[in-house]
Symmetry: D2
Subunit: 415 residues, 4 copies
């Protein structure tokens, strides 16, 4: 049998640096090469002396045909392996509104750079499942979703001239590690809760926002007061939710029930199933939540606290909404667009008890934004962690005692 | 202590008939009375001799004040207990677009009648969480959602002159009973699968449509072919889904993967995470799914089968959508409106692996439409069955083998 | 068609009293009759005026043959319907050790009485899935499990002369109602936690014991200190667990880890998977947990607190045990026997994060003992609530924050 | 700052070969070194050219003190890294029955070798959480559980002279990979079912046994007939279960119900809750299951098929057992011992719907035995896969349609 070097005359030398062993990047690169019938020669391999030192690998990639070589290079570029003889990125002009050119470069949510005139430039607004629009004159590049493509936009095609930088595991991450390694309910929870509290404080100190993405179970489980306390304490800087959270919060404020269940006694109120609809109707009659607060109709609850404490909220619509409340953005593309704008300064996202909104927001966030997803249902947490960022951890726990504990931890940490 | 009859001078005689013991209606009525500090005297009680015979109860309700009496009568009217000295319904003219008058009658999804000029008329399009718009001249009444209220509409307020008829358990229901009684995974599944098949055949024979409401797990689990076989066999007459099911189905048709996982080998394809985005882009470039079928771009899969077999599909948008595909209705209110129109002839709804769409569609269906909700996650099934109709049963099972078995059962039943 | 009274000449008049509507007893009785092709005539029906008043029903049961009549009477006797012309119970002498006579009366866990010489006597130690041994001379009756039958024992056969009294829902129960109605995670949790705390105090005040049945997740989740605090506070009077809870608790005391995970930092300790085995080995080397405390080897943790605070513990063996610890009762029948003895004065059982032990202990408890089963996994809670006692409620929540909150609630209630 | 080589004068050169990158062994080794304040110098690193080629790493380990060096060497020996200047293993004589000497070597379930007189010998019966007993004269070594230690046994202490060989991922494993990577319900199931069928055939062809470990849900879900068909087809060679599976199977054979639910109609039989107890009693009266088959009392079902087809079964007791059946081994240590004997020729273990038995048996199996754990509850599957062998995969699916599909796949593969 021929040696690989004879059978595979097409070659390219690539380099990759970073936490290539620790974070499984090297195995994935080697796997991508060999599973495409390519081969490799490791020419240089410097292993970092500890967890935080980067490693460096210089690697010759071999393939039988130029096409196979190109295919391999494309795949491994997603893991940060770029030819040392790098090319500029290739641009193609968009011909149709709302469509990329065929062969467009499809983004990850990692930090990313593109090569223009021999120099590397950072891509603005990293977001997964987008394309990259380049202004070659201004030397700027930005991720844009398909729907925002305008004819004439210059869009990157192919993988040449694009390199990504998957996040390194840092020391702080270590504390989160036990939660992210796999979805398990049997982990020390006190540690986890404290760590969430610390991340919130770190984000605040760094001048970043803490975003809360929440579902109606926050209200159903009687956790509203804990969240109110976080808002009043200045720990939550932005709220994304749907019609349901706001509706049941207002139902609770107006009727003392959530989905008809009395939150102080835990007993279903006969006729209480109508309360949420009456709550929506009243808010619609006065024109909106802010107006209801101003008119003195709404005097407590999460939405009230947001209004009073100037915490911006965004309510995104879904097909299961009753009403909805006037503030709800019923067009999903418009809601996505506004959420995209509003996450730009988010440093930490706490997602609680909502699969839909958690995944929707998770899709918009760059890989560098830390995310904790809290749900009592492991499947929600599994779905979000499929996203694959080491910055995202799932926490399988119960909303009410979690928020109760979070309030206490923050009190202790800041006293 | 005074006898109730002395302390409670305000009285009304009500009657209720139907499966008042079997279906727990009587306990609920008595509970509603006593929990509101009222009392009752049972004046007549005829118990049906077997499960299918209705019972009849004539009941005097007592309360301390006229207000308390009115409150009790409102609550028990939801269970079908109406004063024998019935009144006409009270109407109020809507003053604001998109808002009911305060005190509007909030609907259930049960069969419902309203009293106009001393006669009872059926309410059209029973749907929960709506109001009732009446045309007193035409003697018609119809459920409408809040958002469709126009100034000048005559809306029912209060409970007077409205009576509902909760569904009776019928014999067929008995077969489903074991599934609905509680959410359990440890039930004989073969029986359940056969029963679902029989319901589909019954709906078809009755000239009603079978509606499939499905999530993308149908594609991820490699169940697409089973569903295709059901569509080709004429067992599915309408499809409601979101962008995800259609996208991954088309991804599978174009690339052989779903979320990048090769469905024949079960292995992740390197770079496969881009496939769904490229699939959407291609469909957007040709203008839509139908065009893709016509142009020969799309030659297999669920959406292809729907197009070829003239099965109408409705794709409702959500904030987590990539793209989306051109057919997706991105405005959630518009999607609701179109779904509401399209369910009018549905006799059986099979909901598979989608919490959002199942609940959204469940909210629109009358209580008489049979629904089976299939999910491997008990929490989805619990959420839907909270809806409270005995026509809705949950089936905790795995999508792929469920659909595989369903195809086989239908083959056996029809051969 | 003939009237039932003509087709069915065999009749018996039975009576039933209690919460026959509210607790679904009457529907079940009528269902049992008609599903066995019998019929009934309601001769008298007095409905209680409120939730706590009992109702009374006098009922004539009709059947086509004496055998069918006997079959019906047997079934409805389980719901407390007994012939007004009651017979004494029938006794048969056991012929084989460890076996009941064929046709033995199989017990429920409800309060139960047997008729001897025309008088009703209470059956001691009500327990489900047992038989009833009678001493006709002493006029005593006691539930015994199959394995304890000795040749010569007089065992009740058939349903004649036995009547049961399913528990009535009481007012206190109302507070628990929202939890027990169905398994849902979306219920107000603060109310539930407070109610658990109150049940513990009520049991204590009533001179009854609080039994904790716990699994190792108590230790894994870092909840040990909360439980220690409950033990020291005198709120836990007895502990049932398995080898795993005790082992990981001792691992934590000796090595600071649980299953190798450091409980203060939440990080896996390299080599930590050996800790639990080394912990067991050390305890075995000194002869047991008590000896380890006496010798100063074990100085903290749940087992330490039990020893120091004289809280009796019973460790029941299972086939997945490593070691096991010397105190573990490896014979499952012996463990059952000792548990049966030890639950006799238990007023409240709190079961946390263990399916096996919860169900095992649940099987031994009379229907009058209140049970709360806490688990983050709904399926555990569903399995236990299948037991069917209204005294058993499931609470789907997370162990650590649950116990943390319970400690706080008890502190507030008793301060 | 000093260079590591100066601060850390204590050194040892170790080597490790195998799939050190692919299977994460190298990162774990490097992590173990640096997290213990050690350092390393990679002296040689040969990376395999593809997935099946082994790599080789020669590594100098540095530490500040001899103790720290010893600690590091111990930890990394678990990952197969052994000093090139290897020592013999250290033996210590057991002083107490049922106890290892302090400092005993705690086993993994991987293939393992020990060094005696300068030569490496394989350790018999690899099993996790055991110790190693050595006969220095015979040059044999065997894993034994703590409970079987006899005074005078020579037991290995420390890590010196012991090396383990974690399983390599092989090509066949690739097909299973998608299931094992993480617990997800959204994977192509048809592929998975076919692969399970193929593993059963491979084991059979290799002269190995297929072991079925099953819980009662097999009967409850109406899957008994599918399993019977597998037994009759010769695909199951051994059955491990508990009292519950056998009891409900026999209940089904004698009464047509499982836990009182009629398996053909799916409806609860009134009084059916007694059936399982009557079934146990009848079997006890005739002395056992085999006798019941011989006497013609038991004529169908899983246990019947086992008896008729000479498939050995082992029923292990638990504290939740009713009865139990005469064959049940009530002592858990005795049950473990017999299971340990009986798994020696098992090539493939299929574990269905039983957490307790799956984990118990999983603990006894060597890392080379392939295991598939099937459960509808992800938490069971997560618990088993925590075991960490790449030979164990979890499959979240529904028992009945899984077994139904498995029967079909086997039929197709063998026809």
């Amino acid at each position: 049998m021929q040696a690989p070097t004879e059978r595979m005359p097409f070659r390219e030398t690539v380099e990759v640096s970073g936490h290539v062993i620790d974070s499984l990047i090297l195995p994935k690169i080697l796997d991508a090469i060999t599973s495409r019938a390519g081969s490799f020669i490791i020419q240089e391999f410097t292993v970092g002396q500890n967890r935080t030192d980067p490693s460096y690998v210089l690697l010759e990639v071999l393939a039988e045909t130029p096409e196979k070589l190109a295919d391999i290079l494309e795949q491994i570029s997603d893991h940060g392996a770029v030819p040392i003889s790098a090319q500029d990125c290739n641009l193609e002009v968009a011909d149709l509104a709302g469509c990329f050119p065929e062969g467009f470069y499809s983004t990850t949510h990692h930090h990313c750079e593109v090569r223009l005139d021999g120099h590397w430039f950072e891509v603005d607004r990293p977001e997964m499942d987008c394309g990259i629009k380049v202004d070659p004159g201004e030397k700027t590049a930005i991720c844009i979703p398909m729907v925002e493509v305008k004819p004439g936009d210059q869009i990157i095609v192919g993988h040449a001239g694009v390199r990504v930088f998957p996040e390194a595991r840092d020391q702080k991450r270590r504390l989160f590690e036990f939660m992210g390694s796999e979805v398990s309910t049997e982990k020390p929870k006190g540690v986890a809760f404290r760590e969430v509290a610390m991340e919130m404080l770190r984000a605040k100190e760094a001048g970043k926002e803490v975003l809360l993405v929440g579902g109606p179970a926050i209200v159903h489980t009687g956790s509203g007061d804990h969240l109110n306390s976080l808002i009043r304490g200045g720990y939550i800087h932005r709220l994304f939710a749907g019609n349901a959270l706001a509706t049941h919060d207002i139902e609770q404020a107006l009727f003392g029930t959530s989905l008809g269940v009395n939150l102080n006694e835990g007993i279903s109120t006969e006729g209480g199933h109508e309360h949420h609809l009456r709550a929506i109707n009243r808010i619609r009659r006065v024109g909106g939540i802010k107006q209801a607060v101003e008119e003195g109709l709404l005097t407590q609850g999460i939405m009230y606290e947001c209004v009073i404490n100037n915490v911006p909220y965004l309510l995104a619509g879904s097909i299961r909404d009753d009403g909805p409340l006037p503030e709800v953005i019923t067009d999903t593309l418009e809601a996505q667009k506004q959420m995209r704008e509003q996450v730009q300064n988010v440093g930490f996202a706490l997602m609680i008890a909502t699969t839909l909104h958690s995944i929707a927001v998770g899709n918009l966030l760059p890989g560098t934004t830390k995310v904790v997803c809290v749900d009592i249902n492991p499947s929600t947490v599994i779905k979000l962690s499929d996203r694959g960022s080491i910055q995202t951890v799932g926490l399988v726990t119960d909303v009410e005692p979690f928020l109760r504990s979070l309030v206490q931890e923050l009190k202790q940490l800041t006293s």
